[in-house]
């Protein structure tokens, strides 16, 4: 059963189900059967599952989606013989009683009409063709000729022609105010205000309609209205969506969408920015921000997760979302096997996937503060200025240090002349691991530092004296070594014996917290003898990473020294082996904000841990001896001294660099200034908002065809795939890099058959309630055929020619005679076209979740119409976020004006959506959604009756009414105008007068109840008679709950 039919069934007893399919899908008797319109939907739905494009599930080697397959000789028998139904096995089998096709156990059955179509198609020559949506959009589609004064826009000719064909006529125009409310809600999501109603009513000219539309299109609320639908498609959310469902930084993207619609950016550009804004020639902060579109999928921080599994999931989500939101294709179906219905192969899917997997991402995230990379800082203008100043200061400080070093020569000579003894200052601790006393390793230097065993560490004979032996799970922590942030220089020197354990064990790390889903701080790991050193906040993108080019020997004591100068650059990160500087490759050299971003450093300034890390691979079988820690990046000769104990005293030693680094007061104070400048910069960066964006990896991450869609399927040279677009669609233009920008320009080219059709259809859905293609998310052969194919083509071509002008297109929709019709039903329309697919009446629909709330807040003048900014938390029952999720953030209800922002700005928490919104069919934004269902449930009634935000808004509106000291009739009239956009009729007025009377009588008996009612909500209860106010509140709420308000008609 189709989703659409679920709704139809609900009203089934009125007998509305008949007719439509016949009216739109079947060929008229004399017309030639069309393959794409008539035959393909049948083959696709009833045959392709076993005889379609997917080789894996193909039965009897027969495929019916190509002519070669259908016409082929199968041992003297033929499935399809053009012009010869009597010789075609297909015809025989579909009519066969004992051995029918489709087989009974498939659950599929052909109707007699369908059998007739298939037979006629063969009789007429069995012409194959493409699915209509894969056919090019005609260059200049013709407008049907219909003699009538009814049409106002081109689209009306198409609608009228189709209605006439079905023996129908359009409905009369809707009353002016009905149109006004409709168009105001459709274009801004807000009801018309009283002055807007008055001025429209007072203007009898034809142009009054145009004026309204131009006003609405120019309103900043237009962008907000259109954004909601796109944000559903973009699966926009303010939380990551897996497990702890931590809050996610994304609202600047939401504002970008709003602004983009308001600026009427061409739709092609709108898409290009989101797909490839980072790669555009003139990329700006804005275009890069737009690429967060591809980072809005859910992301996990669940402990124990395997990063590759999630990274694969994310890239697949990007490819699927691109397919659905841009092309209207369910490419995701081809992730595990070739598409069963549409010409999209599994290879096609992974070729699309390959555009989206090559970014520097880790796959899991650690906390809300640490933004997964690639990411971008979004400073305010003030922050930007501050950052620029601090960066300049950094430059200056670094230059000053260089000058100080360069100028140290004369002072060095003076110092040398005194024949001083060269020792290494700044060494803070020295552990021989020979003594373990009172549960402590003791530093041989004075001061606080000491070491502790973590679990059962053994002491074994070492490089000198005893050494520590690790088992992979245990380790030692060296404590009280002072605060270690990215601006703090240090040097570690120690001896290890490496037995080459598996994986990439951690040798040494600065304990800044973190778990297996992401570490931050400093670490040094050892894999197959190669060392990797990192200074990191969010690896791989926000980190400095170097990797040694030569391995250390296996099972042989080696001295490793590791130094960091606090400069924030890879050049300041060094590894020494046996006293000599090791050659390294720089893998990453970008670092911003602080690295101690998770958890707290303890009072002692954090620990350095050797041999293990929480849930990470430990240094199993490795040994450690003689560790030295210095609070400075030591000079090369000092490191050599720590290795051999004599480098500094060698007769031919060149001590200049040693002197400069260790002794010279000018250099030391310049180095201190660099430290301070780095500190200030990181501090300032810390407060800057950061968003995820797309940014290509320096080295392309390969993509593979993953068997059955599994992340751990073989990744071999044989399964590698290149980037590419589905073969059944026009090819990519050759030349230039094959990247996301190429993909975007392919998608937005004038000869792409899908993008424009999909966009036009979605905008049509936004205005008319349902798309011309009802399955707006699926333009494949399992989707519904367009009700007005020529109109869709006409509009799509016009849209492209207009430069993808969204406002212009929407303008033509809402000014059309089709849109202006009354939506009132008639018996004939109910019978022939109950779902209004032919548009013989105007659109009518329940308001969306956002519109319901915004309408009520607006009617009460309670709404805060501020555009954009961080999300807010409106009323919701207490405790929901943490009720069954102790790992997530606390819900803190917004205060004051923020309680009344438009619903678009409410925090989207994926695992705990705002319940009142969800009940009105808002989506959870966990996956790309193009079409929301529309339901009617008793729980919706309970929301509108009992949710404090609707009660409070009713009271605030009642307050306005009473403060005007007008008659009840006037108040009732105003209530209707504000909420329903029209005055009440006589019966409605009298019903409301009765309601008021009843409520007054009731509250007069229980004035304490009245007081309670009018005190609900955060806004202050006014100084009005509570009985009066409570009664009026209920009267307002009665109107608010009625069809006239909750439905747009």
């Amino acid at each position: 059963m189709r989703l659409g039919n679920v709704a139809m069934l609900a009203f089934g007893t009125i007998g509305m189900c008949s007719g439509l399919v016949a009216a739109t899908q079947n060929a008229a008797p004399k017309e030639k059967v069309s393959f794409s319109r008539d035959v393909l939907p049948i083959l696709s739905d009833k045959c392709f599952k076993c005889h379609g494009p997917d080789e894996g599930s193909r039965q009897a080697g027969l495929r019916l989606d190509t002519s070669q397959g259908a016409f082929g000789n199968r041992g003297g028998r033929f499935a399809v013989v053009p012009w010869q139904p009597q010789d075609s096995m297909m015809v025989k089998r579909i009519h066969s009683a004992d051995d029918p096709m489709p087989p009974p156990d498939s659950g599929k059955k052909l109707t007699d009409a369908e059998k007739a179509i298939l037979t006629r198609w063969i009789q007429e020559g069995a012409t194959y063709g493409k699915l209509w949506s894969f056919e090019p959009i005609p260059a200049s589609p013709k407008i049907p000729v219909v003699k009538s004064t009814w049409p106002h826009e081109d689209l009306d000719y198409f609608i009228l022609a189709r209605l006439k064909k079905a023996g129908l006529s359009p409905s009369p125009p809707a009353e002016k105010l009905r149109w006004l409310r409709r168009v105001s809600l459709d274009l801004t999501g807000l009801p018309p205000t009283e002055p807007e109603i008055a001025s429209f009513q007072a203007d009898p000219t034809k142009a009054s309609y145009d004026k309204v539309v131009d006003r609405l299109l120019a309103s900043p609320h237009f962008g907000e209205r259109l954004a909601v639908d796109w944000l559903d498609a973009a699966r926009y959310s303010d939380s990551y969506g897996y497990q702890s469902d931590l809050l996610m930084p994304s609202w600047p993207y939401r504002d970008w969408v709003v602004n983009s619609f308001n600026k009427n950016e061409p739709y092609s550009q709108f898409l290009t920015d989101q797909i490839a804004g980072d790669l555009e020639k003139n990329a700006t902060t804005d275009t890069r921000l737009a690429t967060e579109f591809n980072r809005l999928h859910r992301q996990s921080n669940e402990g124990g997760s395997i990063a590759l599994e999630y990274k694969t999931e994310y890239a697949a989500d990007r490819a699927s979302t691109f397919g659905t939101a841009v092309l209207g294709l369910t490419v995701g179906c081809a992730r595990c096997h070739d598409h069963k219905f549409d010409p999209i192969t599994q290879k096609d899917f992974y070729q699309l996937f390959a555009y989206f997997n090559s970014i520097d991402e880790y796959g899991l995230l650690l906390s809300t503060e640490i933004v997964p990379t690639p990411s971008m800082l979004l400073p305010t203008p003030e922050q930007q200025q501050k950052l620029s100043e601090l960066k300049a200061k950094n430059q200056t400080a670094k230059q000053a240090l260089q000058s100080a070093i360069a100028g140290a020569g004369p002072r060095y000579l003076q110092w040398l002349a005194k024949k001083p003894e060269a020792t290494i200052p700044d060494i803070k601790a020295q552990f021989s691991f020979d003594k373990f006393e009172n549960d402590r390793f003791v530093s041989s230097l004075p001061g606080a530092p000491y070491g502790s065993k973590l679990d059962k560490v053994e002491l074994v004979p070492g490089h000198s004296g005893s050494a520590v032996l690790f088992d992979g799970d245990n380790g030692i922590a060296l404590r009280a070594l002072g605060g270690r942030e990215r601006w703090d220089p240090f040097t570690w020197s120690f001896w290890v014996e490496d037995p080459r354990p598996n994986a990439a064990p951690v040798i040494l790390q600065h304990r800044t917290g973190g778990t297996d889903v992401g570490f931050c701080g400093f670490d040094l790991t050892l894999e197959n003898g190669y060392l990797t050193a990192r200074v990191m906040r969010a690896p791989p993108g926000n980190a400095i990473t170097i990797h040694t080019k030569q391995p250390i020997p296996k099972d042989k004591w080696t001295q490793i020294a590791w130094s960091w100068d606090g400069s924030g650059q890879a050049a300041g990160l060094k590894i020494y082996l046996d006293g000599k500087l090791a050659a390294t490759t720089v893998l990453n050299d970008k670092l911003w904000k602080k690295i101690n971003a998770y958890g707290d450093l303890d009072a002692s300034g954090g620990d350095w841990t050797f041999g293990r890390r929480f849930r990470d691979s430990g240094f199993k079988g490795g040994k450690l001896d003689d560790a030295v820690f210095a609070e400075r990046a030591l000079s090369d000769i000092e490191v050599a001294q720590l290795y051999d104990g004599k480098a500094l005293s060698a007769p031919d030693a060149d001590l200049h660099d040693y002197y400069a680094s260790a002794i010279d007061p000018d250099v030391r104070s310049a180095a201190e200034a660099v430290r301070k400048a780095q500190h200030d910069l990181a501090d300032a960066e810390e407060g800057v908002y950061e968003v995820m964006v797309m940014e290509e990896s320096k080295n392309r991450v390969p993509a593979y065809l993953l068997s059955r869609g599994r992340y751990d399927a073989p990744r071999t040279p044989q399964t590698i795939v290149n980037r590419g677009t589905p073969e059944s669609l026009p090819p990519l233009k050759a030349g230039g890099p094959n990247d996301r920008l190429a993909l975007a320009s392919w998608a937005t080219r004038a000869d792409n058959p899908l993008t424009a059709r999909v966009a036009v259809n979605r905008l049509w859905q936004l205005v008319f309630g349902a798309g011309l293609v009802e399955t707006s998310e699926n333009f494949g052969s399992q989707g519904s055929p367009p009700s007005h194919p020529e109109l869709l083509d006409y509009l799509s071509r016009k849209f492209i020619k207009s430069g993808w002008d969204v406002k212009k297109l929407v303008r033509s929709f809402v000014l059309s005679s089709t849109y202006r019709q009354s939506s009132t039903r008639t018996a004939k329309l109910n019978k022939v076209d109950p779902l209004n697919r032919l548009l013989g009446r105007g659109p009518s629909q329940r308001l969306s979740a956002e519109m319901v709330r915004d309408t009520v807040l607006a009617a009460a003048d309670l709404i805060n119409l501020k555009i954009g900014g961080p999300p807010v938390n409106p009323y919701q029952p207490a405790g929901l976020w943490t009720e069954n999720n102790g790992m997530t953030q606390q819900f803190v209800q917004s205060k004051g004006d923020d309680l009344y922002r438009r619903s678009l700005y409410s925090t989207v928490k994926r695992t705990t959506p705002v319940p009142s919104m969800l009940l009105f069919d808002a989506t959870s934004r966990e996956a790309c959604t193009i079409r929301r269902p529309i339901t009617n449930t008793p729980l919706q009634a309970l929301v509108l009756l009992n949710d404090v935000q609707f009660v409070e808004a009713s009271r605030v509106l009642a307050q306005h009414l009473l403060e005007k000291k007008q008659t009840d009739k006037q108040s009732i009239r105003e209530t209707f105008l504000r909420l329903a956009g029209r005055p009440p009729d006589a019966e409605e007025t009298s019903l409301l007068l009765q309601a008021l009377k009843e409520q007054r009588a009731d509250f007069a008996k229980h004035p304490e109840d009245a007081k309670k009612l009018v005190s609900l909500g955060d806004s202050k209860p006014p100084a009005l008679d509570p009985v009066e106010l409570a009664s009026m509140t209920i009267a307002v709420q009665t109107v608010l709950n009625s069809d006239s308000v909750i439905w747009k008609r």
């Binding site: 189709r2 609900a10 009125i14 006529s169 409905s171 997760s305 009720e883 069919d921 449930t937 009731d1002």
Partner: protein, 495 residues
């Protein structure tokens, strides 16, 4: 010529005149009005839902144990683990399979015997750990599956898979499929109700677990909570009494009827009926959630916690109330089984909270003659490892996630009582055949003795009278069902 429809004429010929409408409304609304109310109504337009076959169970009470209970410490007795306690998991048992990133990097992975004593109970001789004395008493009612398996190794995807048939978000939940397929058996309560033990902490629960995915929102599970407002937005605002509310609803009905007379849109009828249903729920929900009228012996049966609203025990008793009132799918969640460390104390505490109420529910339904057509399911999203996560100390050791074998049990509603289906190898690490030989089941093909999550789903649906292959909905270009393209009804479990 005029292009317009002749409205008046057509109104006169419209099947549903104003008079007829009010006539029917006076009888308390016909099927039309109720049609879009609740799931049953979707099918209630003169036609009953046709079961694929005669159902064995009218309702399901699913006692979901979130976090992954350790089968080795509850039901799956593995004396070998105690013998090999402390030794490394042999490679031929691990078979190169993936571990979570929490224990994959451990220096050693030592086998851990259960710290609990096991004994056999009932005629079935089923094994129970000493921490489950009450369930042991109903041994002969239980139908054990000791050879469940899944693919997911982390909580979020695993529980999402169990409850929606897909690791990815966005699919309808089990209960919403049943609501969609079978509809409701009552007129005053939702058909799919969700209860979760309060204050348990541990691995989170998500709205998607009882969401309706791409089915429409009327099929969502309705969460009942302990406390003043059992259903969100159920209670009148302060200061609105029932008589005031009634008066308001009467005027609202008038307004909507007036609108219907003009618009002739059956959605308005539906809307009127919804408000009536909402009004009825304001009474029916507090009624059904009120446990205070239960006699003391019932509270004694369910244990002392059953007097504390929001506990698993109270929810089990509430589940029985809901079952009596015709709620078709009652989904309980009890979090707290994720024992990566401190397993001994943790699982003892969990057993204390769940053992007696779970057993009591079975006894209670049996006493009321409802066990035959009520299907009870007890289990989590995956099992736990036979090796210790972290150092093997009796009080601190824990077990990591283990998707390759775990135990669930069922009772009532058409399953064979007093049987154990499937087994694991002597290490409790792999599914094995009757002789203890390791099996390699996949979700694609049914392997005798092994039950994939989709197989369990298919079997539960079968018991409810639904062929899992037929309950499908096309969405985004393909037919979706709870069991994806897999699932086999496990005949051996059926009575």
């Amino acid at each position: 010529m005029n292009d317009f429809n002749n409205e008046e004429l057509e109104r006169a010929t419209l099947g549903l005149t104003r008079r007829e409408f009010f006539g029917r409304a006076a009888q308390g609304f016909g099927a039309v009005a109720l049609a879009s109310l609740l799931p049953n109504m979707a099918w209630a337009n003169g036609q009953e839902f046709k079961f694929d076959h005669a159902p064995k169970a009218k309702r399901i009470i699913y006692l979901f144990q979130a976090g992954g209970p350790a089968q080795q410490d509850l039901f799956d007795y593995k004396p070998m683990l105690n013998k090999l306690h402390g030794q490394s998991l042999p490679a031929e048992i691990r078979r190169g399979q993936r571990l979570t990133a929490m224990s994959a990097n451990q220096g050693t992975i030592p086998l851990a015997g259960s710290p609990f004593k096991f004994s056999q109970h009932g005629e079935s001789g089923a094994w129970f750990s000493e921490i489950l004395p009450h369930l042991a008493e109903v041994s002969d009612e239980l139908c054990f599956v000791k050879s469940m398996f899944t693919e997911a190794i982390n909580h979020d995807p695993a529980i999402t898979f169990f409850q929606t048939g897909s690791e990815q978000a966005g699919r309808p939940s089990f209960g919403s499929w049943v609501s969609y397929g079978l509809g409701s058996m009552n007129k005053d309560l939702p058909t799919f109700v969700v209860l979760a033990s309060a204050g348990q902490g541990d691995q989170p629960l998500y709205a998607r677990l009882w969401g309706s995915g791409f089915l429409d929102s009327r099929y969502q599970g309705v969460r009942f909570r302990a406390g003043k407002e059992p259903v969100l937005y159920l209670t009148n605002p302060d200061g609105v009494c029932q008589s005031g509310r009634r008066a308001m609803l009467d005027r609202l009905d008038d307004l909507n009827r007036h609108q219907f007379a003009k618009e002739l849109d059956p959605e308005i009828e539906s809307r009127i009926a919804q408000y009536e249903m909402a009004y009825r729920m304001q009474t029916s929900v507090p009624d059904v959630t009120d446990l205070s009228k239960e006699p003391d012996e019932v509270f004694e049966l369910y244990g002392p916690d059953s007097r504390k609203p929001g506990t698993f025990a109270a929810n089990c008793l509430l589940a029985r109330h809901l079952a009596q009132k015709g709620v078709r799918f009652i989904q309980l969640y009890h979090q707290g089984w994720d024992h990566h460390g401190g397993l001994k104390a943790g699982i003892t505490d969990q057993a204390k909270k769940t053992d007696q109420p779970s057993a009591a529910l079975i006894k209670d339904l049996k006493r009321l003659g409802m066990l035959d057509d009520t299907l009870i399911v007890w289990g989590g999203e995956f099992g736990r490892t036979s090796y210790s996560q972290g150092p093997l100390e009796v009080n601190s050791f824990g077990r990591d996630h283990h998707p390759r074998c775990f135990t669930v049990f069922m009772a009532g509603g058409g399953v064979k009582p007093g049987i154990t289906y499937g087994r694991t190898d002597d290490y409790g690490y792999n599914i094995a055949d009757a002789d203890g030989k390791i099996l390699d089941p996949t979700k694609q093909d049914f392997t005798e003795g092994a039950v994939h999550v989709h197989d369990l789903q298919a079997t539960l649906l079968w018991l409810m009278g639904i062929d899992h292959k037929k309950l499908s909905v096309p969405y985004q270009g393909r037919d979706f069902r709870l069991t994806d393209v897999h699932g086999h009804v496990v005949q051996a479990l059926l009575r």
